[in-house]
Amino acid sequence: MSRLAGIRVLIVEDEPVVAMCLEDMLMALGCSVIGPAGRLAEGLALARDAQADAAVLDINLAGERSDTIAAALRARGIPFVFASGYGNAPAGFEEGVPLLGKPYREADLAAALERVLA
């Protein structure tokens, strides 16, 4: 069993198929999944209320930057990992937050989460 077993992970990802994929990966790692949220408002609500231990946050949600969600997560002390289809971090990208490139690899996902949870 991975060290991530039992961790509750919030998924904010607007691409349904990708979200499903991420969901499956996290479940395989023994995590329980909150979401996935595909829209900014939905993600923000979960970030403020959900009992999450960590989050995987897509930077771009149907054309909107997810910075407010990141702020909400940080406010609650919930560590998170950015996910992005862009090759490199966009302007204003927060230092110190791991960037998970798409398509995901389960090992990278696990490593990133372990890092932020450490």
Partner: protein, 722 residues
């Protein structure tokens, strides 16, 4: 003149004037009175006992006055002291003594007298006085003085500085030389007096000199000769000698006199002048300048040899050439102008400078000549000469034409270039701009020229420009940089500027800089857009790969039938690909919902009327369209495998509508085999119920109705802008 024969004199002491004359001496008296010179007899006390008639005549007084006359009062002031002193000395010496000096006659005139006084003695030999006689030596004295003066003049003349004088005997031996001659010849007087003129004459000049010398003595003709002396230090001196033969009164020659002038400098000047003239002539010829002179009477004159060459004519042996010879060679189009200029000069002496074409007589080649002509007035007689100089300026003319053409080309480039051309001085003041630049900035030329380029850009950009100039001044070369400038309406334009320094052609000093600029505002914008597009493409590819990854993961997760799984995967990829095709065709702008659905079901078509699509034409965002396409694909696949389309009679109706801001969609299968609830929910169901629902932020439900599968969608009207 002493008169010692009159030695007897009475010893009495008569009073002056009334003393009876010595009667025994009547004869002496008679003789003395008839003598033409003054004679006097004195006693020991210096009083006179006798004076003769000439004495009285000289003083202009009577006898008694003459006996007591103080002769010292008539001595010339310049002589007085000397004569009185000599007189006292002479008397004291008791010897015959002579005095000479000027005395004033009774008539006031000054006369030179030479007096001789001799002691008188009595019979016993006692000294009793003096007897004196005075000769008038005025004429002789004046002649002597005149001679002395002349000698002094001659001496001064002979020794004066400019001319040397040398006298030789008939063999040429020096007998007399002045200081100047010594200085000129470079020999001392002592050396010269032991030498002959032949010994110091330059060997090359001696033969001619000797011939003239001999002939002068023989035929008594003077001569003038320019020749060289060899100085004692070996140096050469050029002299001009004017030589005359000296003759005695008898006519016999006894010597030769030469007046010598040093002409070394003049010879050097002449030589220099000749050289200079030669140099000028050579220079004129080398410069290809042909000269001509014209005599108005004959309308012909003398041409320099190269003037014939210039015109391609045969050289005339005497150099004769006429105005017509010249005009004949002039290009017909230029001939009248040339003729007018030349004859204008001939008529009223106005000088001319003309440039014209000729055709060479020999080759027929066209050449350009430049000619200057002017008139030289020869004094009062109006004998005017015309002189001129011509030279070939073809090369220069062609260069000028070339330059004009080049300037025209440059001007055209400058005026018509799309690029912006600008020149500035070293203080960044604009000195010229081309029309393209004016148009780009929206200013008139006078609004730009003379102003600083800093007026047309922000401070940081001006600082950058200054830095570029500074770098060029140090390193030279060309700089290339991108700079932002401001147009008259405040727009910011991005220019790429290539600039380099301009320098003075003559001395190479830097005068300013010129720059070629190109507007890269659009290019920069395009570049940024490109970058965005590439980033976006990258994003999409990554996203698509993530989707493919998701599909693959879902498809192969639990599937045991690999062939079926592969077929399913291929079908899903095909659906994804089809959706992408549509989006690409539509440039990733919103696409028609009907179109997405019909494309998604098309591969499963199976014949006419199997799918019925019915709904308003709504636009879907690309992302939503993909999710819808994948969901419809899953529904269609299921219909073909298990549902209505698995039998020939079955059909599917896809009907959608909008109700205010809600989208309602219903997938209804009819005519298929009885529907059974599936044992497990696979990717398809998940994609439809969760994926599409999430995508649409709505609800999607699959109803396994026995008469046919039904799927309902209720969601907000999708935002096409997403």
């Amino acid at each position: 003149m002493a008169s010692s024969e009159y030695s007897e004199e009475p010893a009495a002491d008569p009073l002056p004037g009334d003393e009876p004359r010595p009667s025994g001496e009547d004869e002496f008296r008679l003789i003395a009175d008839s003598a033409p010179v003054p004679i006097w007899v004195t006693r020991l006390d210096r009083t006179r006992s006798f004076v003769n008639r000439a004495y009285l005549d000289f003083l202009g007084v009577d006898y008694p006055a003459a006996l007591v006359f103080d002769w010292r009062t008539i001595i010339h002031p310049d002589d007085r002291d000397r004569i009185v002193a000599e007189s006292i000395a002479g008397e004291a010496g008791l010897q015959t003594f002579t005095l000479e000096g000027r005395y004033r006659r009774g008539d006031g005139s000054w006369r030179w007298l030479r007096s001789v006084s001799q002691p008188r003695r009595d019979a016993r030999g006692r000294h009793i006085g003096f007897i004196g006689v005075a000769h008038d030596v005025t004429e002789a004295k004046e002649a002597e003085l005149a001679l002395r003066e002349r000698e002094a003049q001659l001496s001064a003349f002979v020794n004066q500085a400019t001319a040397g004088f040398a006298q030789t005997d008939l063999s040429g031996r020096f007998t007399l030389v002045n200081d100047r001659f010594c200085a000129i010849s470079g020999w001392t007087r002592a050396e010269l007096l032991n030498r002959t003129m032949q010994s110091i004459t330059h060997p090359d000049d001696l033969g001619r000199n000797q011939k003239l010398f001999d002939r002068a003595i023989r035929e008594r003709v003077p001569f003038v000769l320019e020749k060289r002396y060899v100085r004692s230090d070996g140096e050469i001196v050029w002299v001009n000698n004017s030589v005359a033969v000296l003759r005695r009164e008898t006519g016999e020659p006894y010597g030769v006199l030469a007046v010598t002038i040093d002409v070394t400098d003049r010879r050097a000047n002449e030589m220099a002048l000749r050289k200079s003239e030669e140099s000028i002539r050579l220079a004129v010829e080398c410069a290809g300048m042909a000269t001509w002179e014209l005599d108005l009477a004959s309308m012909s004159g003398v041409w320099s040899a190269n003037r014939f060459d210039l015109l391609g004519l045969e050289r005339h042996p005497a150099g004769e050439g006429s105005v017509d010879d010249w005009l004949a060679r002039v290009h017909p189009d230029d001939r009248e102008a040339v003729r007018a200029a030349a004859f204008g000069c001939f008529d009223d002496s106005s000088p001319f400078t003309i440039e014209y074409r000729i055709h060479r007589a020999d080759t027929g080649e066209e050449r350009w000549l430049q000619s200057h002509g002017s008139c030289i007035e020869q004094g009062e007689e109006r004998a005017r000469r015309f002189v001129g100089v011509s030279f070939d300026v073809t090369t220069r003319k062609r260069a000028e034409q070339e330059l004009r053409a080049s300037e025209a080309r440059f001007r055209t480039i400058f005026e018509q270039a799309n690029d912006y051309l600008i020149t500035c001085d070293l203080d960044h003041r604009i000195t010229s701009v081309n029309p393209a630049l004016l148009a780009a900035l929206g200013y008139a030329e006078d609004q730009l020229v003379g102003r600083s380029i800093g007026d047309f850009m922000d401070a940081d950009q001006f600082a950058q420009s200054r830095e570029m100039l500074r770098r060029k001044l140090i390193e030279g070369g060309t700089t290339r940089h991108t700079i932002r400038v401001r147009s008259s309406d405040g727009r910011e334009l991005v220019w790429e500027v290539n600039s380099q320094l301009t320098s003075d052609e003559e001395d190479g000093t830097v005068t300013g800089l010129h720059a070629i600029a190109r507007d890269v505002t659009e290019a920069k914008r395009f570049e940024a857009h490109q970058r965005l597009l590439i980033d976006e493409l990258n994003h999409r590819v990554k996203n698509t790969l993530a989707i493919v990854q998701g599909i693959a993961q879902q498809t192969f997760r639990n599937e045991e039938d690999m062939a079926a799984a592969r077929a399913a995967f291929e079908g899903r990829l095909a659906a994804l690909s089809e959706a992408h095709n549509l989006l690409t065709r539509e440039h990733w702008s919103p696409v028609s919902m009907a179109r997405i659905i019909s494309d998604a079901v098309a591969p499963h078509g199976g014949g006419e009327g199997r799918f019925l699509l019915d709904g308003p034409d709504l636009a879907l965002a690309p992302k939503t369209a993909i999710s819808l396409a994948l969901a419809v694909h899953e529904l269609a696949t299921n219909a073909v495998k298990h549902g209505a389309l698995s039998v020939a009679e079955g059909a599917v109706t896809i009907r959608w509508s909008r109700d205010a801001d809600r989208l309602l969609l219903e997938w209804t299968e009819r005519g298929g085999p009885p529907v059974r609830h599936p044992e497990r929910r696979g990717f398809g169901t998940r994609m439809i119920e969760r994926g599409l629902a999430a995508e649409l932020s709505g609800s999607v439900t699959i109803h396994f109705d026995p008469e046919g599968l039904r799927c309902t969608v209720e969601a907000p009207i999708p935002s096409a802008a997403a």
